[in-house]
C-alpha cells in the first residue's frame, strides 16, 4: 500500500482513539461529561444502600470460601471459546455511528464464570434444546396415538398443548441462557445523530418542492386549479354511492315486531300454543308469534307472558290489556336490546342481565333502576274460541332500543 493510504485521517472516533484497550482506559463520550471513576461508584440498584458483596457473607470470610457462581457474570478470556467470543466483539470494526464496545472489565460487571461454570452453562443450553426436541417429537406422536375423543378431547388438548408449551419454553430459555451466560457482556455505545437535516438540505428541499409546484402551473393557471379542486372533491363519491346496497333503507321496518292480529302465542322453544291455565300463578313463558320463521324477521318478536295473582296488577291499563291476570310484554330491553327475562315472582321485578335495567311488571313495566329510559311495550292479548292466547295486533310502539326517528 502506498504512503498516502497510511496517512489517511481516521474516519471515526473509534479509529482515532486507537486500540480497544486504550479506549477502555480513556473513555470519551461524544456528548455529556467525561466519565469519572470514583471509589464506590454504583448503579441505581445500590442507591438505597442494599449493595451485596458477592454472596452476602461477612467481610472477614476469606475469598476462596465464597461461592462464586453468579448468572451472567464473566470476564473475558477464561476459556479458549469465550476468549475467542470476546475478542470477536472487541475487534469488531466500527462504523459511521461510532459503534464501539467497552469490555466487561471496564464496567466491572461482577463475577466471571469459571471454566466449569461455562461448560455447565453450555450443557444447560444444549439440554434445553434437546428437551425441546423431545417435546416437539412428542407432539407429533401424540397427535396420532392419544385417543382424540376421550373426555371430549381433553387428553389430546393437554398432550399437544403441554408438549408444545414445553418445547417453546425450553427453546426460549435456551436462547436466553445462551445470551446471558455464554455471550460476551461488553456494552456497545453508539452515537445518536441529530434527526433533523442540516439547514442547507432543508432549504434545498423546500426550494425543490416549490420550484416543482411552480412548474406544474397550478399557481398561475386559475381555471386549471379550480377544475382540479372540483374533481378531487367529487372523485370519492362513487365509492360511497356504490356502498348503498350494503343494506336496505330502514324505512318502517324497525316499527314492526312481527306480531299480527290473531297470531297465537306459542312457546319459543317447543312452538306449542299457550292455553289459559297452562301458566301457574307466578309463572312465566317466552312466547313468539305462531309460525315464526327466521330470527331476521322475528328478532323483535320475543315476548314474556306473565301470570299474576288476582289483584297484584296495579296499573289499570296493564290489566285491561291482559287477560285473566295474564299480561304480555316485549322481551327486548328498551336500553340496548338484550332479551330480558330475569323475573322475580314475589317482587315482580324483571331484570335485564346486560346492564341491570329493572322493570316493575306490576306497574306497567315502569323502570325502577338502571339505564333503560322507557317502559317495556305491552302486547294486547285476548283468548280465541278454543281458549288459546292470541295477540290482538302488533305492539303499539316500536319495540327495543330507541333510535332517532322513533318519535
Amino acid at each position: 500500500m502506498s504512503d498516502e493510504e497510511k496517512k489517511e485521517p481516521p474516519k471515526t472516533a473509534a479509529e482515532a482513539a486507537g486500540s480497544t484497550i486504550r479506549r477502555a482506559q480513556h473513555p470519551v463520550t461524544t456528548g455529556g461529561a467525561p466519565r469519572e471513576r470514583g471509589p464506590g461508584s454504583a448503579s441505581a440498584a445500590e442507591i438505597e444502600g442494599e449493595v451485596l458483596r458477592r454472596s452476602n457473607m461477612a467481610p472477614d470470610v476469606p475469598d476462596g470460601v465464597r461461592p462464586r457462581r453468579k448468572v451472567g457474570r464473566r470476564s473475558a478470556a477464561v476459556t479458549e471459546e469465550s476468549r475467542a467470543q470476546s475478542e470477536a466483539h472487541l475487534t469488531r470494526p466500527s462504523d459511521d455511528e461510532g459503534t464501539h464496545f467497552l469490555p466487561e472489565s471496564y464496567y466491572g460487571t461482577g463475577e466471571p464464570l469459571s471454566e466449569k461454570e461455562e461448560k455447565f452453562a453450555e450443557l444447560q443450553v444444549a439440554g434445553l434444546f434437546t428437551l425441546a426436541s423431545l417435546a416437539t417429537l412428542w407432539v407429533c406422536v401424540a397427535y396420532f396415538i392419544i385417543p382424540s375423543h376421550a373426555a371430549l378431547g381433553r387428553w389430546m388438548n393437554m398432550s399437544l398443548g403441554g408438549g408444545l408449551a414445553i418445547a417453546l419454553l425450553a427453546v426460549g430459555a435456551g436462547f436466553v441462557i445462551w445470551a446471558k451466560k455464554l455471550l460476551p457482556h461488553d456494552k456497545a455505545v453508539q452515537d445518536r445523530h441529530d434527526l433533523f437535516s442540516p439547514e442547507e438540505e432543508q432549504l434545498l428541499s423546500e426550494e425543490t418542492f416549490f420550484k416543482g409546484v411552480t412548474a406544474t402551473g397550478l399557481g398561475s393557471r386559475k381555471i386549471l386549479r379550480r377544475s382540479l379542486l372540483g374533481i378531487v372533491a367529487i372523485l370519492p363519491l362513487p365509492a360511497i354511492v356504490l356502498l348503498k346496497d350494503l343494506g336496505p333503507l330502514p324505512t318502517t321496518k324497525l316499527r314492526h315486531s312481527g306480531w299480527k292480529a290473531g297470531d297465537r302465542l306459542v312457546d319459543a322453544t317447543t312452538r306449542q300454543p299457550v292455553k289459559l291455565g297452562d301458566l301457574e300463578i307466578g309463572g312465566i313463558k317466552t312466547v313468539m308469534p305462531e309460525g315464526f320463521t327466521t330470527p331476521d324477521d322475528f328478532a323483535l318478536a320475543p315476548t314474556m307472558l306473565i301470570r299474576f295473582a288476582p289483584g297484584e296488577i296495579r296499573s289499570k291499563k296493564e290489566s285491561s290489556w291482559g287477560k285473566f291476570d295474564h299480561v304480555a310484554y316485549s322481551k327486548i330491553c328498551t336500553h340496548a336490546g338484550c332479551p330480558i327475562s330475569l323475573y322475580e315472582q314475589q317482587t315482580h321485578h324483571l331484570l335485564c342481565p346486560c346492564h341491570q335495567s329493572t322493570f316493575d311488571m306490576s306497574n306497567d313495566a315502569n323502570v325502577i333502576f338502571g339505564p333503560a329510559a322507557r317502559r317495556l311495550p305491552q302486547l294486547k292479548i285476548a283468548l280465541d274460541a278454543e281458549g288459546y292466547f292470541i295477540a290482538t295486533g302488533d305492539y303499539n310502539q316500536p319495540v327495543g332500543p330507541s333510535f332517532w326517528e322513533r318519535g
Binding site: 448503579s43 388438548n157 317447543t270 307466578g282 330475569l342
Partner: protein, 262 residues
Amino acid sequence: MSPSTFAARLAGRRRRVAGAAVVLVCLGVLTLLYGAVAPRGSAATSTDPNVTEGKALYSKYSCASCHGLNGEGGSRAPSLIGVGAAAVDFQMGTGRMPAQYHGAQMPRKAPVTDEQEIQKIAAYVASLGAGPSIPNVDGWQKTDVALGGALFRTNCAQCHNFVGAGGALTYGRYAPALNEATPTQIYEAMITGPENMPVFGDKTITPAEKLAVINYVKTVQHEANPGGAGLGRIGPVSETFVGILVGLGLCVLFTLWLGTRA
C-alpha cells in the same frame, strides 16, 4: 206424723230423685249419641301416622314461628296452604328451611334433619291443601339432552347462567348455582317456584321436558372441560384474571429475567 204427710214427703223425694235420674239418663244418651255422630277430628290425623308425626315435627322445628300454627303464613313468611309436599321436600331437603335469619334470600345449607322426617312434614303440609307432590324423576338420563339444553337456555339461563353456575338478581337476591342440586330438587324447584323463582308448572314445561332439562343440567355439570381447567365456567371475568396473572405475569417475569435494571 200423719200417714198423708209421710206419703206426701215420700212422693216429693221420689220426684226429685226421678228428675235427677232423668237428667242423668238424658245426658248419658246425648253423650252416646254425640260420640256416635261427631267427627273424629280430621280424617288424616286419625288415619295417616305420617301426617300426625309431621304435625308434631312442624312444631318441633318451630315452623309455626313464621308460618303460623296452621301454616296460614304471616308478615314474615308465606302461607303453606297449597304449596304441596314438593315445596317442603325442596326447602327442607336443601336446608333452606328452617330459615336462619330474615334476609333477602334463604341460602342453601346443611339440612337439619333426615329424609324420613322431611317426608312426614311434607305429608302434613300437603294435608293442609292440595299442591304439587314429590315428583318421580326416574328415567331422566334417557331424555333428549339437546331439547333440555334449548329449554334451559330459554327459560333458565338468564338467571342461572349457561351451565347453571348461578347469577345475581336485584337487591341482594340471587339465583343459586345448580351443582349441588339433585335431580329431584331441580324438578321440585321448577314446579314450586321457591322464593322469587317463577313457577314452571307441568303445563308450562311438561314433565318430560322437565326431565330433559334435568338431563342437560347434570350432563353439562359432569362433562369434562376439554380445554383444560374450567375456570368456574362464568365466562370472560375469570379468564381475564388468569390472563393477567399467568399470561402477563409470566411474560413480565421473563422481561425481568432478560433485561437489566436501570
